[in-house]
């Protein structure tokens, strides 16, 4: 060892200053806290996007049979069913559109391509899924009755659903600031056992409405929509925007109540993260956002859902993430 090296190595190590230690350790703690929070969000995401296949399938089968019967009775033809956010062009007025509106749930968003002819309708029918997601937290007594009548839903699953719902009621009564996180987790967990129930069928079977009542209500709502449509800003914009987006990108579609506050609340969150927010002019608001990666879309969705969970009235239909290419296909 040279003299130079000896001199250096024998010099005592410097001690990291206490204030530096404090800063760094505090930062590490803060980061870990954030990281843990993100992991919880990730768990919630997993819960949100996962299903208990047995219960979901059983519920789907149960109500699916009902849907078939109701649609057969309530419509002239087997009109296409729109998915939660599947696109609908309401112009121009055509008999096919009326048929579609009669067959689609009273509360569903309608958005079809401007070229909505028979081919487009048929294509829409092929592509879309006539179901929507309801969380257990939203399960009504009627839905529980449907579940109980099902031969395929086990007693254990029924008990689990009811238990969760009852627990939620209790929690809601006792809700305080410190419980918000816990309840949020519970609610998202509830979605894990959510059922896919067509909204129109849920309403129909729950209220024992006949096909005539459903049709009358759909007509009334259609008229209501037509009034709103006059002040609409959007369907052509929606279509134009969709067609120029990168087909590999992802979009979040979410329907919120078409109230000023609900729209502003969600749109604000989307605006932070997306290129564009579009509101369709229907009873429900349809929002699109473009994300390069699915994970980004999911993260944005988690933020919105976390906020929305604090306000049950905000989001009425479970959101979904779709490839923009799928939407573009509908327009072609």
């Amino acid at each position: 060892m040279s003299e130079l090296e000896r001199l250096y190595r024998e010099a005592p190590k410097l001690k990291s200053p206490a204030h530096l230690d404090k800063n760094i350790l505090q930062s590490a703690q803060d980061a870990a806290r954030v990281s843990t929070g993100l992991r919880i969000d990730e768990d919630k995401r997993q819960a949100l996007f996962s299903w208990k296949p047995g219960l979901a399938l059983a519920s789907l089968c149960t109500v699916g049979i009902g849907i078939g019967i109701a649609m057969h009775a309530g419509t002239r033809n087997s009109a296409p069913s729109a998915g939660n956010f599947d696109v609908v062009q309401l112009e121009p007025v055509a008999s096919r559109r009326e048929e579609a509106e009669l067959s689609v749930a009273a509360n569903q968003t309608l958005d079809l391509p401007e070229v909505a002819g028979d081919a487009a309708m048929a294509r829409l029918s092929e592509v879309t899924t006539p179901t929507m997601e309801l969380s257990v937290a939203e399960v009504t007594d009627e839905a529980v009755a449907v579940m109980r009548e099902s031969d395929t839903v086990t007693l254990a699953d029924q008990a689990a659903v009811l238990s969760r719902r009852d627990a939620k009621a209790t929690d809601s009564d006792a809700m305080g600031g410190e419980l918000v996180e816990e309840i949020l987790a519970e609610r998202l967990s509830d979605r894990e056992v959510s059922m896919q129930v067509p909204r129109q069928m849920r309403k129909q079977s729950a209220n024992a409405e006949g096909a005539d009542a459903l049709a009358a209500r759909a007509i009334a709502q259609r008229e209501s929509r037509s009034v709103q449509r006059k002040s609409a800003t959007g369907q052509a914009d929606v279509n134009r925007w969709l067609l120029v987006q990168n087909s590999t990108h992802y979009s979040i579609q979410i329907a919120v109540k078409n109230t000023e506050s609900a729209l502003d609340s969600v749109a604000e969150k989307f605006n932070h993260r997306t290129e564009k927010v579009i509101a369709a002019d229907t009873q429900w608001v349809l929002l699109h956002g473009s994300f390069n990666q699915r994970q980004q879309a999911e993260e944005a969705l988690i933020v919105i859902l976390n906020d929305a969970e604090k306000d049950d009235s905000l989001i009425e239909i479970a959101p979904k993430i779709v490839r923009i290419g799928e939407m573009q296909n509908l327009l072609k």
Binding site: S2, Y8, R9, P12, K15, S27
Partner: protein, 197 residues
């Protein structure tokens, strides 16, 4: 409770590591990435003084050394989840980050003179009663400060105990280049110290 803490409980039954003290750097970092702050505290305590000494002697300015040291640890915190034990030894990874930060610092301060030296600091003085060594060490720091950055980093890394291969990994050059830089660094430092003496 993080993975390491759980592991510590589990392995106690078999007579293996009983605490964080007996856990590798990589596992501590992994545990921290999973939210175990105790693991980070242990990791930090292992390397904090060495890293601070390293940055201090490279930068020769206490304030800058503190700033860079903090930046390095922030990078560790940010990138904890991305660290791959198979790709690097933690200590090598840590000093590579530090080395890069120091290089960035010098790039920013390329025109700044080195007459701000103050790292002959009180701690050294307090612990080193030998006045002759104190003077020599002061000269050494001054001579180091005048070396080209890559030679200074290479020299200090070697004095901190890294092998040629590790220094090569940290600085991103070949082992032969490391040896060459060391040779020049020592030669130039000795020359300068003799001149000043």
């Amino acid at each position: 409770m993080g993975d390491v803490s759980k592991q510590a409980i589990r392995v106690t039954l078999f007579g293996f590591p009983r605490s964080l003290k007996a856990t590798s750097d990589a596992k501590l970092l992994h545990a921290y990435a999973d939210g175990d702050t105790a693991a980070f505290n242990e990791l930090y305590s292992r390397h904090k003084d060495g890293l601070f000494t390293f940055t201090s002697r490279l930068l020769a300015q206490t304030a800058a050394a503190e700033e860079i040291t903090q930046d390095v640890w922030m990078a560790v915190i940010d990138q904890a989840a991305k660290f791959e034990p198979g790709a690097a030894v933690f200590r090598t990874w840590l000093y590579r980050i530090a080395s890069n930060k120091v290089a960035d610092f010098y790039r920013r301060k390329v025109n700044q003179r080195t007459d701000e030296l103050d790292t002959k600091n009180e701690q050294f003085i307090a612990n080193q009663p030998d006045v002759e060594d104190l003077v020599l060490f002061d000269q050494l720091l001054g001579a180091l400060a005048e070396l080209p950055e890559e030679q200074r980093v290479t020299f200090v890394l070697q004095q901190e105990g890294f092998t040629y291969a590790e220094i090569a990994e940290i600085t991103g050059v070949g082992a032969e280049t490391v040896k060459s830089r060391l040779r020049y660094a020592k030669s130039a430092t000795q020359d300068r110290m003799e001149l000043k003496a």
